[in-house]
Symmetry: C2
Subunit: 408 residues, 2 copies
């Protein structure tokens, strides 16, 4: 091994052994949108906000059975390509009229079971969704995401934790959706709840310039500035996207020990722009990655894209992170930011896979691997991928196709 | 099929049938560099020009046997992921001292055989390399690329065409390396030779700002401006990269009927920046794509990256090209710009592959497919990929590993 090789990495015979890889920000049901929002002529999808309209159409139709079928397929695809743990930012809670299901946590329960049936670790990040935006009420679909009082949301999160208490692969956290969708009182309630339980606290932060503008107009502060003033930033805080930050925002994230979760495959699809990675790295902000909308589901592409898009932004090579540093973001840092223990979770890659072509080292894996090089993975001591296949792959795909047809 | 579906696309049972896909710009031997030029601490590789130094080390050691082994693996990897035709921009011609081999075209011969042994169509684009740069002589390695007189290079190209005349899968063209490496007389000779034979004429154009600056200093013209004045632009001309163009350059390419060959996976790796795709599309410039340095070898990633990187550049969605338009660039336009006939070349994808997840249409394929979804391909009436495998895959990989070890 060369110096700088992350711990847990070894070449044994013709197999690379790597630590497990976490995708720390996922909306699994959005997998059903892949390939369905791309047409140039669909004028309704020309920016992030109109893409969100298509996503809302789908979210409005989900029920516990269909969110299970979509999520299980999405998790199986991730597992097949080397993901071993997922942070699920879960926001569709209630029935289509916004009323709680008889089992109040039926939707979260379905998503957790989908991940655990595939064999992945999952951290269910229960979303807090108060309002449609700064000074805006809820629209029809958003009522499914929301609760009349923040206490209901916190109680549901506790109920999820209690139901899966005996399953070491399940963790719970809170996710106030964004400064757009959660006001100060809700944010403070989330802060206290996570503090008391040692839970991770995730939020979408500065994904779009419009969010910054509206936050400045309401509070005179950037989203990160507001979160700092409210005391939300800590080592358990994860700023998802962190695309449009000021220098002072970067310094605040760094000094608090928070993590930035970069989601390049989705950000690239949605035209979000690219973060100033060099500034984040220079300041020492911890990094993880997320599959987000499941526009693509290969953790190696997810990792390398963080560095590659910074090269495009600056017109230089190797500006911030090499293969070992990126792998560390996906494994140690990714697991930590969703409150999971990496322990013995491992993946095995065929060194003779076309995408690797022999012993190309950690740089070769991170910058070159196709996730199909993964031959095996183990999570919590159990096999998840075996001989390059996820068990019941055909049945999982058939159930996904059937759910997509029902929802269309 | 929805309107706008490219001809040759069909869903039959659980298989998508697509036209063949061309990668119009390749340096196959550079496949050996994947994963070996990424380290942040290797200060020697911080930009395009120092990356070129590492590539020259490798180029300096090649011989006909090793370029065959490296190229055959690179072509097999492309074939496995859906590529059916390749434009090989071939520049290592002579022995390490710059002397012609006993068989003057031994190196080109090896590269052509490598492609044909895998079953791909290949257009051998014989490079013309006169000098090290504007006002610079040849360095030691560059002597392998060069010829004392342009006539020698043209004669070699004719010899390659003659040797493979009976093979419908082989075509020949010329590739003056760039305005840096070929002066006006050589460019005019290439123009006349291609005109007389109906051959494609490829050049690296405006990949790096420095090339533009030096060309302006020498000629008072941009690279495209110079090529226009010298009469090189035509429907047979391919401007590779076309990254840093002025508005007048775009107009010149469009009015001449030339093609721009975008190589995003490599350009993203090398920190080249991104082209103004919207301007190219608005002006009506024909587009194709190229794998270039083989940093990654998935034609679907190569195609979608053209649009995705434009979204990042502009901070918008769907700014220029949808799935059908991108597939057209890879198939019809890609084949045409390397002088090959698409005819019955086809690839078959498993619609139930994890990356497709059922019938997601051409947008789903182009924006979502992992090349491993390719189950079968046929080129010139013969099978190239069967049951998701290239014949002799293990032997091809072993020979590649052995060649890499010899060259290191």
């Amino acid at each position: 091994m060369t110096p700088g090789t992350p711990s847990g990495v070894a070449l044994v015979g013709d197999q690379w052994i790597l630590p497990g890889i976490a995708t720390a920000h996922s909306h699994a049901f959005q997998r059903a949108l892949r390939g369905r929002t791309q047409s140039v002529n669909a004028s309704a999808t020309r920016d992030f906000w109109s893409w969100r309209g298509l996503m809302y159409q789908l979210a409005g139709r989900l029920d516990p059975d269909s969110i299970y079928d979509l999520s299980r397929f999405a998790f199986a695809e991730l597992a097949r390509h080397g993901v071993t743990a997922v942070g699920e930012f879960h926001y569709v809670q209630h029935d289509p009229k916004g009323q709680p299901y008889a089992d109040r946590i039926a939707m979260a329960d379905a998503v957790v079971r989908a991940a655990r049936d595939v064999g992945l670790r999952i951290t269910l990040l229960r979303v807090l969704y108060q309002r449609g935006g700064f000074g805006r009420g809820l629209d029809e679909v958003q009522r499914r995401f929301s609760d009349p009082e923040v206490g209901h949301a916190l109680a549901d999160a506790d109920a999820i934790a209690a139901r899966f208490e005996s399953d070491e692969g399940v963790r719970v956290g809170l996710a106030p959706h964004s400064v757009r969708a959660a006001g100060s009182e809700w944010l403070e309630a989330a802060r206290d709840h996570c503090e008391a339980r040692g839970w991770p606290l995730h939020m979408h932060v500065s994904e779009q310039p419009r969010e910054n503008q509206e936050c400045l107009a309401e509070h005179g502060l950037t989203p990160v500035g507001l979160l700092e003033r409210l005391g939300l930033l800590s080592e358990r805080f994860v700023a998802v996207h962190a695309t449009h930050l000021r220098r002072s925002d970067v310094a605040s994230l760094a000094s608090s020990g928070a993590t930035a979760c970069i989601c390049r495959t989705t950000e690239r699809d949605l035209g979000d722009g690219a973060p100033d990675l060099s500034a984040l790295v220079r300041a020492g902000v911890k990094l993880s990655v997320g599959v987000d909308s499941h526009a693509q589901s290969d953790p190696f592409e997810e990792l390398r894209a963080v560095e590659l898009d910074e090269r495009t932004r600056l017109g230089q090579r190797q500006v911030a992170l090499d293969g070992p540093a990126l792998l560390e973001a996906g494994s140690t840092s990714g697991y930590a930011c969703i409150g999971q223990a990496l322990q013995g979770d491992r993946i095995w890659l065929d060194a003779n896979d076309f995408s690797l072509g022999g012993d190309a080292g950690v740089d070769g894996i991170v910058f070159g691997a196709n996730g199909r090089a993964v031959q095996r993975s183990r999570v919590l001591g159990a096999d998840v991928v075996m001989d390059g296949r996820v068990p019941h792959q055909d049945a999982i795909t058939a159930a996904f196709r059937s759910a997509v047809a029902r929802l269309s």
